[in-house]
Subunit: 270 residues, 2 copies
């Protein structure tokens, strides 16, 4: 056996990948791993312009936010600031809010209301019943870091307007016979301004208004709100519907029979 | 007292609303309910054209589907057929898939992998790892009623291509040391064709492949899949991540530490 052949065999023993990586050796078809079968997009050859590309990226970011795929985030990505502003001040946000309300009502009408007054629907408040859009309009629509002092000053004015589709839903759900429970991340110190604001915006009657108390400090919204849902169920209520703009309004045990996620690309609460 | 005044007082006693409803009486400002404060959209005066309106409606429908707000649905609404086709064959679907994979990987890299081989990531198969888009392309992209016989014939060809971003994610997650569990709604009768298809699409290694067995018949996907997650946890696995295109892949007890919802506007599985 020639020494070059022996050396080649020794080399192959320790570095078998050389066999495949040498550009000189012919490779038998059976040695090549077949290229995996991968989905081809029919339009993948078109190169979108920068503006379209940014729109697509921000659409994807918004989808990921609304599907709860994102890691906790503090501000809207810089490149999506204008996108979010145009979305929330435009038709798209209103359409999305109306669709959420419409689907909620379709479901609410299918629920059998027992005569015992324990059929409940939970509503979050901010960005669910009341809109803080006037505040966010002067704070970059979510592209600035949240300033709790400035936001508190806004809350204390008690002038947040109603989201119209939610006001209509609230009235319809109440008329169907549901008990109305407002469950908010606002603190008990804001009880009076919250009541004042709710009434001013047309939310005149409710069965419970639950705010964060001293014992709820430091809890995530998911933990605080699911804990309150547990208490509500322990009182005997059946929670049929739950409306909120944050997944932390809706997730955690126990969950409502149906949950409705209202759109909100401006901020994230864990 | 004049008789007309007495009559008025009697009338008022029985019909107090007359006081407010008479168009002749002047009404004090304090008697008028204030108009509730309602959010005004800055662009609400612009009337969108029919094409923009349909786009907005279908965007809202897709958002509602992806946020799990819709009642169970069997077909894409007729007016959104073209919209869904353009979405899934275009850049937007690919971008959304890539964003879901990217966020999954960001999270996966933060997980501490213990040396005991019990850190798991669950993947659904259809529309998560493998794409049935070639099938749906010849079946109206979700606008036709699902035909299980025709779909089974497609599945048995074992030629569904990989979703590229999911293939990359799968490889990265495996390289990080996660145990890979495939949990699919496909039936055990399709085990061999599923294995053949997975390998052809580049998914070469996994730790478990769970298909619907005889005992799982008639269960919803939510019930079947959460039941399997319970069994997986009872075996000692820690389920850190769960990727699926249906909420029924992700919801129900126990839930994964993080869940990732891939886009799918073509069909709904309860």
């Amino acid at each position: 056996m020639k020494s070059s052949v022996i050396l080649s065999l020794i080399a192959l023993l320790f570095f078998p990948h050389l066999l495949l990586s040498s550009p000189l050796d012919p490779i038998e078809p059976s040695q090549v791993l077949p290229r995996p079968l991968i989905l081809q997009f029919t339009s993948s050859l078109e190169e979108p312009d920068d503006s379209t590309l940014n729109q697509l990226r921000c659409d994807s970011w918004r989808f990921a936010a609304e599907a709860n795929n994102l890691a906790p985030w503090r501000v809207v990505p810089a490149e999506c600031g204008t996108y979010v502003k145009e979305y929330v001040t435009g038709q798209a946000y209103r359409f999305d809010l109306e669709m959420a309300a419409r689907e909620s009502l379709i479901y609410a009408r299918t629920v059998e209301i027992k005569g015992d007054g324990m059929d409940a629907w939970i509503f979050d408040i901010d960005e669910t019943l009341l809109s803080n859009l006037p505040y966010y309009a002067s704070h970059g629509y979510g592209s600035e870091i949240f300033n709790s002092q400035e936001f508190d000053a806004w809350v204390e004015q008690a002038i947040a307007p109603a989201i119209e589709s939610s006001l209509i839903l609230y009235e319809e759900v109440r008329a169907l016979g549901f008990k109305i429970i407002f469950l908010t991340g606002r603190s008990e110190g804001h009880m009076n301004v919250t009541i004042e604001n709710l009434k001013r915006a047309g939310f005149l009657h409710w069965d419970k208004l639950i705010l964060r108390g001293a014992n709820d400090r430091g809890k995530t919204a998911t933990s605080y709100k699911s804990g309150k849902r547990r208490e509500i169920e322990e009182e005997g209520y059946r929670i049929h519907g739950n409306s909120g703009d944050q997944w932390s309004d809706l997730l955690g045990y126990p969950v409502s029979s149906r949950s409705f996620k209202l759109p909100n690309p401006m901020y994230f609460i864990p």
